[in-house]
């Protein structure tokens, strides 16, 4: 009778490198686990260059033994373009927040897809600007209270951004999906999305993009369990999970 480790610290979460700064129940480390596990499964860790823009997720740059670039908020998409164009032999994953990509990065986002840049972009959507204290993001739900929508988001502040749906209309986009980890089943689906996105890059097809709905208990002023419910009851109805584009050629 032997014990065999089934799940533990992700192989690429080289913990001693990093501190663990996330708040209880924060799902940043969950999407990170997915990314690390898939990279590990594909055996491309040594070729990978990770790009993490300034945001709550920046902490993951501390945890990995992979080459990494830490640009400022809003720069992550363009920086990934520069890295991938100069090192097409490397595997490039750019990792940013919803503010990062849907607000300040929107122009870079649309044009990276239009240019069919061949890397993978992961957007962690926690529905607001967490790092700066919980302001409105383009992804914020209608009625959601943030520090810049104290009465809840109303029409005068616009409507929730649906980035995967939008970018799916761009010819240079090879893959686009939205996942979550509010249930083990959705965790598994998201893992599949991330793997497909990575495969598009490995197959040199085009731009690949995955949005992840991520619990932010601190910013939402909820318990971790309430946050999971919020994702279930509020976020997913407004931002449906699934694949929005999945092509093997851009023509």
């Amino acid at each position: 009778m032997k014990k065999e480790l089934v799940v533990g610290l992700p192989k690429l979460w080289v913990h001693h490198l990093g501190e663990r700064l996330e708040c209880p129940g924060c799902q940043y480390p969950v999407i990170t686990r997915i990314i690390y596990d898939v990279i590990d499964e594909l055996g491309i860790e040594g070729q990978t260059i990770l790009i993490c823009s300034a945001a709550c997720g920046f902490g993951i740059i501390l945890t990995t033994p992979m080459d990494a670039v830490g640009p400022n908020h809003g720069m992550g998409i363009d920086v990934a373009t520069g890295v991938k164009r100069l090192r097409p032999d490397c595997f490039v994953v750019s990792f940013g927040g919803d503010g990062d990509i849907a607000a300040i990065g929107a122009g870079a986002f649309v044009n990276a897809a239009q240019r069919a840049e061949k890397y993978t972009l992961i957007m962690v959507n926690n529905g607001h600007f967490a790092m700066t204290g919980g302001q409105l993001a383009p992804t914020t739900l209608m009625g959601q209270v943030t520090t810049t929508t104290p009465e809840g988001r109303g029409p005068s502040m616009g409507y929730p951004a649906r980035m995967p749906e939008m970018i799916a209309t761009v010819q240079g986009t090879a893959y686009s999906a939205r996942g979550a980890a509010n249930t083990p089943a959705n965790y598994m689906k998201t893992r599949k999305y991330v793997k497909r996105a990575f495969q598009k890059q490995l197959d040199d097809v085009g731009f690949s993009f995955v949005e992840f709905l991520s619990a932010c208990p601190t910013g939402w002023h909820m318990t971790p369990r309430q946050s999971i419910q919020w994702i279930e009851e509020k976020m997913i109805p407004a931002l449906p999970l699934g694949e929005f584009k999945n092509v093997d050629s851009l023509e």
Partner: protein
């Protein structure tokens, strides 16, 4: 007979309760009285008999505090 077991690292558990909510076999609970050094309520492994080593608690744990082991015959 238990198919496996889990080990919870008290140093990293932050008492979010995800493992408790998502274990299909109800093998995990949040203890009322034990707290981590950072002051978080700790989860603990109970009903160990029922654990199927499915791994769910492991990958749903945001703080990588759980190790899931499967028993294998040798």
């Amino acid at each position: 007979m238990a198919k496996g077991e889990i080990v919870i690292d008290e140093m990293y558990c932050r008492g979010c309760g995800y493992c408790v909510d998502f274990c299909p076999k109800n093998c995990v609970t949040l203890s009322e009285d034990t707290f981590s050094s950072l002051g978080y309520q700790l989860s603990c492994f109970v009903n160990s008999e029922d654990c199927t080593a499915c791994g769910i608690c492991g990958f749903m744990c945001p703080h990588h505090a759980i190790e899931v082991y499967k028993y294998v015959e040798v």
